[in-house]
Symmetry: C2
Subunit: 343 residues, 2 copies
C-alpha cells in the first residue's frame, strides 16, 4: 500500500512533526508525518502478539526511533505521537480492553506504555477513527467538513468525522458502522459479533464469501466452482476475477453487496448527513483501478440515490478512500496534531 | 404541557436572557428563558399558516414583545433569540425551504425576518434538534455529554447532541432518525416519505395505527373493534387504554412498536454511542405516568439489551424525555445562548 514516492525529505518538512502508529494483528505501521500530513519516514514492525503487549509497546517505541533516525531528526523533535489500535478500548483512560485480533493483550495501559517507550506525549484513537481522520486530513475527504469512512475487510469498520471531531462515543464504541442493523427480521443473517441483521453480516468480505458459498451449495452454476474444485480458497479477489471474466453469479453477489452497503449508507446519511462517505479497506472490488470496482461503486451510489432524501443525495460525495493502508498511521499523526494544537 | 409552576420571576432571573421560538403547524410557542434555562414568561400564538410566513414572522416578533412585557423586561434586554422550525430548511442561510406542515411557507428567509421583527440577533435550528438541545440543557439529558432524542408522534423526529454540538448535517438533514432503514427487504413497510423500511414506517403513531388496522382486518379479535364500531377513530391513545384494560392485540402492537424502536436505537448506539437516548413526543404510551408507558419503555430497553454491545448497554441511559412540549422553545433559547457565548 505504501508508496515511497509520497515520502518527503526532512529539509522540505513543515514543522511540527508527529509520529503515527497503527497497531494491527500482524504488523504495526509507524510513520513520521509533518504538519501538512506528508510522510518523512515509514517503518513496518512485526506486532508479534505472542510476545505480549509490553514488548509490543517497546517495539513501537523502537519503531518511532528508527523512523526518526531514517528521517534524520531526533525523537525530541516529534511534538506528539498518535497511537491507533483496534478495540475494544477505553480511550479516555488509554486502555486496550479486549481486542479480538490481539489475543492476550487485555486490559493493557497502552497509551502510557507507548508514551514511556517513546518519551513523547501520546494521543490514543480507534484504528478506524484514525483511518477516517487520515482520509479527512489529506485523503479523499480533505475538501469536506464532515465525513464517514467505511472500511471493508474481514469485518466492516467505521469512522465518523464532524468538523475536527473524530466521533468516539461515550464508551469508545461510536462509529461501529458495521454493526448498524439493516434487517430487523428474525431470520436475518448473523454477524461475527453474534447479533442478527448487522450490515457486516451482509457486506463484509466474510459475508460475501458466505453468501457465495450458499449460492453455490444451492446449485448455482459458476466458474467459481471449477476453481474451488482445483483446490483454491474462495475469496473476494476470486469473485472479482471471475466477475471480470463474465461469471454471472460472481457479479451478482458483488452487486448485491453494493446494494446492502448502499442501504447502510442511507442510514448513516440520514443520521450524520456528512459531506462525503468513503469506502476503504482491503476488499478487492473496493477500488477504482478495475472495472468491477467501478461497477461496485456505481451500484452503491444507485442504491443511495433511490433511497436517500434528494437534497442529501445531491450534496453527498460517495467515493473510494485514497490513502489505502497508510490512512491509519497518517490519521493517528493527525489526531496527535490536533491535540498538540489544542494544548 | 407547560407547567406554569416552572416559571420564575424576573427578579430571580440569571442574566443574560434569551427568547426561544418553536414554530409548529398550529401554534407557535414563545418563551423567555434565563441563563439557567428557566422560563420567565411563556406565550402561545396561533401560527395562522394561511396568512403566510411574513405575517407569521411578525406574530413571532409580537410574541417575543408580549413575553418580555409579561416578565417585566424590555426586548433590548434579550441577548439573542433562538428560532426552531420544522424542515426542510437551509440552516446556514436561515431559509425555510419546503416544510410539509407549513403549506405555502416556501423558500422564506425566516431567520432574517424574525431578526427584523424582534430587532435581535437570531439563531436558527431544526425543531427536533432544538427539542433535543432543551432536554440536554435542562431536561432528562442534563447529566450527559451526548444524547439522542427520538420524538414519537405522527412521524419520528430526531435530535443528536454531541458535546455542545447539535448535529445538523451538511444539508440540515442530520438526525433524521425516523428515516434510518431497519428493514432492507423488498416487501418492507413504506414510510410517509415513500421509501421502504424506515423506522418511522414501523414505530410512529401513524405506523402503529396502520399495523393495528392490518391485524384487525386479518380478523384478530380485540376490544378495539367494538370502539371502532361505535364510531371512534383508532388512535394510539385508544390502544393504550384498551391495552390497560387487558386487550391482547393492543398490548401486542404496543410492545412490537417498542421492539422496532429498540432496533432503531441499537443502530444509533453503534453509530453515536451517546450517554442517553430519550423518547419524547406525543405518542400516548411514551410516558412514565401510566403502566403501559412503563411496559413500553421496559420492552425498548430489553430489545436494546439483547442487541447492543454489552459495554454500550451498561453505560447508556434510555428514558423518557422530561420537558414535553416546552423542550422546543427552551432548546431554541439554549442554542441562542450557545451562539451568544461564542460571539
Amino acid at each position: 500500500m505504501f508508496d515511497s514516492s509520497n515520502t518527503i525529505s526532512s529539509a522540505e518538512a513543515e514543522p511540527p512533526l508527529f509520529a503515527g502508529i497503527d497497531l494491527g494483528g500482524t504488523n504495526t505501521k509507524v510513520g513520521l508525518v509533518d504538519n501538512l500530513g506528508r510522510t518523512l519516514a515509514y517503518v513496518k514492525v512485526p506486532t508479534a502478539i505472542e510476545e505480549g503487549p509490553e514488548a509490543g509497546a517497546a517495539r513501537m517505541g523502537q519503531g518511532v526511533k528508527t523512523a526518526a533516525a531514517e528521517a534524520g531528526v531526533t525523537v525530541a523533535e516529534i511534538a506528539r505521537v498518535g497511537l491507533a489500535t483496534p478495540g475494544t478500548m477505553d480511550l479516555s483512560n488509554g486502555m486496550l480492553l479486549d481486542p479480538v485480533n490481539l489475543p492476550g493483550w487485555h486490559n493493557f495501559p497502552i497509551r502510557d506504555r507507548v508514551a514511556h517507550h517513546t518519551d513523547r506525549p501520546v494521543s490514543y484513537a480507534n484504528d478506524a477513527a484514525a483511518a477516517a481522520f487520515g482520509e479527512f486530513w489529506v485523503g479523499s475527504g480533505r475538501q469536506y467538513d464532515s465525513m464517514v469512512l467505511l472500511t471493508l475487510g474481514t469485518g466492516i469498520g467505521g469512522g465518523i468525522i464532524i468538523g475536527d471531531l473524530a466521533l468516539n462515543g461515550e464508551t469508545s464504541h461510536g462509529a461501529e458502522c458495521g454493526h448498524i442493523i439493516i434487517d430487523c427480521r428474525d431470520d436475518a443473517r448473523i454477524c461475527s459479533c453474534d447479533q442478527p441483521g448487522h450490515l457486516e453480516a451482509y457486506a463484509s468480505a466474510t459475508a460475501v464469501v458466505a453468501r457465495t458459498e450458499e449460492a453455490l451449495a444451492a446449485g448455482r452454476p459458476s466458474s467459481l466452482s471449477e476453481r474451488r474444485a482445483a483446490g483454491e480458497e474462495l475469496t473476494t479477489l476470486m469473485l472479482a476475477e471471475e466477475a471480470e471474466r463474465g461469471d454471472e453469479l460472481s457479479l451478482e453477489v458483488i452487486l448485491e453487496t453494493a446494494r446492502y452497503l448502499g442501504i447502510g449508507i442511507v442510514t448513516l446519511l440520514h443520521t450524520i448527513d456528512p459531506g462525503a462517505v468513503l469506502l476503504g479497506g482491503a476488499m478487492t472490488f473496493g477500488r477504482h483501478d478495475n472495472e468491477i470496482g467501478r461497477q461496485f461503486l456505481a451500484r452503491v451510489k444507485e442504491e443511495v440515490r433511490h433511497r436517500a432524501f434528494p437534497v442529501v443525495v445531491r450534496h453527498v460525495t460517495i467515493d473510494f478512500a485514497a490513502l489505502g493502508g497508510d490512512a491509519g498511521y497518517i490519521g493517528a499523526a493527525g489526531i496527535a496534531r490536533l491535540a498538540h494544537q489544542q494544548h
